[in-house]
């Protein structure tokens, strides 16, 4: 009797462990992020404080493209300070062949005028670009950028924008060459830029 009971317990335990191993996945992400595998990139036109600006205007230059917003309290200033430091490590000649574009993912609050003042604080050469929600969404899709408003009980009209924090590197031919992770050292950015400049 007790042997049978023991056997039953063992069988039950084995079944439980096997079941757990098969079906229990505690590391499931709360919400899978869209995978930015091989975004196409490509030309776009958005609004700067000084009129429309197209990526095609920068053909022949290496473009660093960043998506952010002016209410962004920490991540964007770090990224833009990094971009400015990278520009400062280039020679005057190289600088003339590099552009930095900051595209707002917060079209509700960021006007082109507001963006211009914001980016100029970091470096007057950085261009701030805004547009309609649809125009921004279209550019975001093509570059594989994720962004989403999040209600966070905080000031600044009550929301923050989660967003991809990579910097996209676009070659002189206008093609997406790659991306740099948030916090990439200016030396790394400069190396990527020079790689782009050395390409025909």
């Amino acid at each position: 009797m007790s042997e049978r009971l023991l056997l039953a317990i063992v069988v039950l335990l084995v079944a439980l462990v096997t079941g757990l191993g098969l079906f229990w996945n505690p590391e499931l992400p709360e919400r899978p992020l869209p995978v930015a595998a091989g975004p196409a990139g490509g030309d776009f036109t958005l609004q700067s404080a000084d009129g429309p600006v197209g990526l095609a205007d920068y053909r022949g230059k290496v473009v660093l493209l960043y998506f952010g917003y002016t209410y962004c309290p920490d991540i964007c200033p770090t990224a833009l300070a990094g971009a400015a430091a990278s520009l400062n490590q280039l020679s005057a000649e190289e600088r003339g062949k590099v552009a930095v574009l900051f595209v707002s993912v917060d079209p509700k609050r960021d006007t082109p005028a507001r963006l211009k003042e914001y980016v100029a604080f970091f470096d007057p050469a950085i261009v701030g670009l805004g547009g309609s929600s649809e125009a921004i969404a279209d550019v975001g899709r093509r570059y594989g950028v994720f962004y989403a408003e999040q209600k966070v009980a905080t000031a600044g009209e009550g929301y923050v924008v989660d967003h991809s924090s990579d910097t996209y590197v676009i070659g002189r031919d206008g093609r997406l060459a790659g991306k740099l992770p948030h916090g990439a050292a200016p030396e790394q950015v400069v190396a990527e830029v020079r790689k782009g400049l050395n390409q025909p």
């Binding site: 309290p73 920490d74 200033p77 833009l80 905080t154 600044g156 989660d162």
Partner: protein, 151 residues
Amino acid sequence: MNKLSLLVAGLMVSAGALAGAADQITVHEPYVRLAPPNAPATGAFMVIRNGGGKDIKVVKVGNPVSKVTELHTHLNEGGVMKMRPVPAIDIKAGGEAVLKPGGLHVMLIDLQAPMKEGDVVPLTLTFDDGSSKQVEAKVVRPMPMEHAPKH
């Protein structure tokens, strides 16, 4: 130099006046990031060390420059940075909490007046036992990640 001795004197006075967790805590390299124009918020960063034998939480940081002050962290999910409030910052016994760009930080929201580089912002850290400590944080321009003050 004069400023430094004032600061030291001030710290000694507050250490004498307030007992508890505050006595076990030392704060290193506190700074406030200069907010770009049109940015309604900015971050304060520092390293908080706990020299005592008990875990301590920072539950509140007060300051005179912003209407709201919150404790935040960042979650990096596949390159997407998500900023979220946290109820407290834990500092383990004998350990430290590093508040730095891209991670834990004190968020100063709704700045009352524009700051300028070199300004000093007094920050009052309140701990879970009710004791508190004031530190003076210098306002500095945003730096790329690798160039943030070393500790």
